[in-house]
Amino acid sequence: MKYSVLLIAVLLLATAFIAGCTQQAPAKEIKVGVIASLTGPASNVGKNMWQSAQVAADEINAKGGVSFKDGSKVPLKLIVGDDESTQQGGQKAATQLITGDKVDILVGGYSSAVTSAYEQTVAEFKVPFVVTGASSPIITHRPDIDTSCIFHHCPTTDSYGQYTTTFIDQVVRPAVNKKLGAAADRPFRLALIYQDTGFGKGVQTAVNNTITKEKLNIQLVSQQSFKMGESDFRTPLTAIKAAKPDAVYIAAFPNEGAPLITQARRDIGLDTIFLSVENNDNPQFYKDLGQYGEGSIIESRFSPYTAPAGALADAQAKFKNSYYAKYGVYPDMMGASTYEGIYIAAQAIGNAGTTDKAAVKQALVDLTMPQIIEAMKGGTIAFSKDFRESRFDLWMEQLAFNQTIGESRPNIVWPDNLKVVDFVLPSWYKPGSA
């Protein structure tokens, strides 16, 4: 007992010194803090986000840096904070970035649970924060703290649910009615299977709300949930099949979505249209699905295998190639929005003419800039007045099986201003009851 007391004393001293070791570089540069999950279950996405941020920063600095109205340029310096996918890690990372590294602006944030843990520190120090990875609308809707400096540049579960449900109503429903030769007022039979987490439940809420609010002719015939990390979906799929749906909307991660669709088609014999959420749009998903992906839909904004025609396609290809050249793999959509987040930060600071946080925040409020690599509503990036959310132009892509590669490939089928081909019901498709 006696020695341990001394030991504790020494250790506390050591902690104080080690943790306090931070030096500020006095050079003239703009410090951007990037919060990402470099470790923990979200580390794939986190790495993507951090690396994409670096690609953006390199491009900006290659041109000299952030440009100000008086013609001067100041380079960007990125500082990363690993939130370790935990609340404690997030809080430590945020406090270090804000009070230790004294960053001028923050970009990043993925898990809503983790982000909500340090939001108040951000709010307290009034640091402008462009959230580029979290899909929960709560981030900017929090009733207990002042989120006026927090800007949400990432589609939320509200968007996923709303766009997908609208697509079903506008495109899938008429197609099924035509195939059945049914009357135009036949209600569409939709089944929902979702991950029992904030993400999945958020999508479920959004789908229900969209149907109610816009009085859509869609009937939710079955709503099944599964726990995160599940690998065997046959039981809920059996229940869904019994409800005879016309289509199944899946709110899951790719490691769940791919087995889900495979098991549905192969084992349960559920030959229907599956709609997946955008986070599934990555190469592994296509690989795991194989032929069973044929005909299914993904709601997306940034795909490894397709892009809306025109200038966006070139911009996306350029980004993907720069990323690939640097890291040997392709970026995903969280990386894409973080890439844009850095550009947004640079633009706002340039517009503000200063790194003063209040001015930068105002610049973000007033921001209007052309879309960069992802399609935005109206072709511009701007934050809504109420909850500071930017509006993405999400699209739907349908998968067609490519015999030579052995995998399916996407083609954009909606909305009309972005589409490449028409949506079709596959030959093996079986609708729900007539």
Partner: protein, 292 residues
């Protein structure tokens, strides 16, 4: 009331999923029987077995069902090493120590695998992937049938080993009465290493079957099946093979039933609720002998 056809399907999926749990649980029972040690890190050996099979398959393209032997052999070696280095020194120092040691192993093995293979989800495709066999109203993929056959084969092999070979009989003797075994000249330390190795090999077999069936895997995938295997053997009674099989079946069906009626989130909780109820009534499990 539930449609009988649906019920049959749910039961069938339960049996297929049970194969992997049965292999895991048998391995745990073997290790416990001989060493009286419970290794909470057992799931990590399943994961390593899965990765070894996947890696060899991706490098050489050999039929994964054939690779299972290689994978199991590799894990006999790895398991033996772990036993020698980690469990042997703490044998007899208290049951809590074994639990804590396992936690350390979990940290090392999971993150070691992440360093070597990366932590993204991966999957491989079995060569028989698209083939299905119609049985009754179901269209059963050929792989599932092969998996059940392979599981049965491994279990039969194990049974023969334990009952027909000298080493196997020595192992059973050690598990029944360690001191007695020492008295008749059995090298119990060798039995320890061997049983641990074989236990891990069974886990590797389970891991191989996991990936062959096309399921996704990553370094953290071993924990959930292991926890379930634990619950199964505790339910069935530590050390009891028939108990493990009964427990596995009860679990498979109960889990799926709960998911069907209450929602997917209750799957894990139900497993533990059953476990807790059984343990409160019979603190040594369904078939367990009292006093461990």
């Amino acid at each position: 009331m539930v449609d009988f056809g649906i019920l049959m399907q749910i039961v069938f999926w339960g049996v297929y999923a049970g194969c992997i749990y049965i292999l895991l649980a048998t391995g745990l029972n073997l290790i416990f029987g001989v060493m009286k040690v419970v290794n909470f890190a057992h799931g990590e050996f399943l994961m390593i077995g899965a990765y070894i099979t996947a890696t060899i398959f991706l490098l050489t393209g050999i039929n994964p069902y054939a690779i299972i032997l290689l994978s199991m052999l590799a894990l006999i070696a790895i398991g033996a090493a772990v036993e020698r280095l980690c469990f042997r020194p703490i044998l007899g120092t208290g049951k809590l120590n074994e639990i804590f040691l396992s936690i350390g192993l979990i940290y090392i093995v999971q993150n070691g695998a992440a360093v070597i293979w990366g932590d993204e989800w991966q999957s491989i495709k079995s060569p028989y992937e698209g083939i299905s066999v119609p049985i009754g109203s179901l269209n059963v993929p050929l792989d599932y049938i092969i998996i059940m056959v392979v599981t049965a084969g491994i279990l039969v092999g194990l049974f023969l080993f334990l009952n027909r070979t000298r080493i196997g009989r020595e192992m059973r003797a050690t598990s029944q009465n360690r001191k007695g075994a020492m008295l008749v000249g059995i090298d119990v330390e060798r039995m320890d290493i061997l049983s641990f190795g074989i236990g891990c090999a069974l886990a590797a077999g389970a891991g191989t079957l996991w990936v062959v069936s096309g399921q996704v895997f990553n370094p953290y995938m071993g924990s959930i099946p292991a926890v379930k295997a634990f619950a199964i053997i505790i339910l069935g009674g530590l050390g009891s093979i028939p108990g493990a099989i009964v427990g596995g079946l009860i679990y498979g069906i109960a889990e799926n039933g709960a998911a069907y009626y209450f929602g997917g989130i209750w799957k894990d909780a139900v497993s533990f609720i059953i476990l807790i109820i059984v343990l409160v009534i019979r603190p040594t499990g369904l078939f367990g002998e009292s006093g461990e």
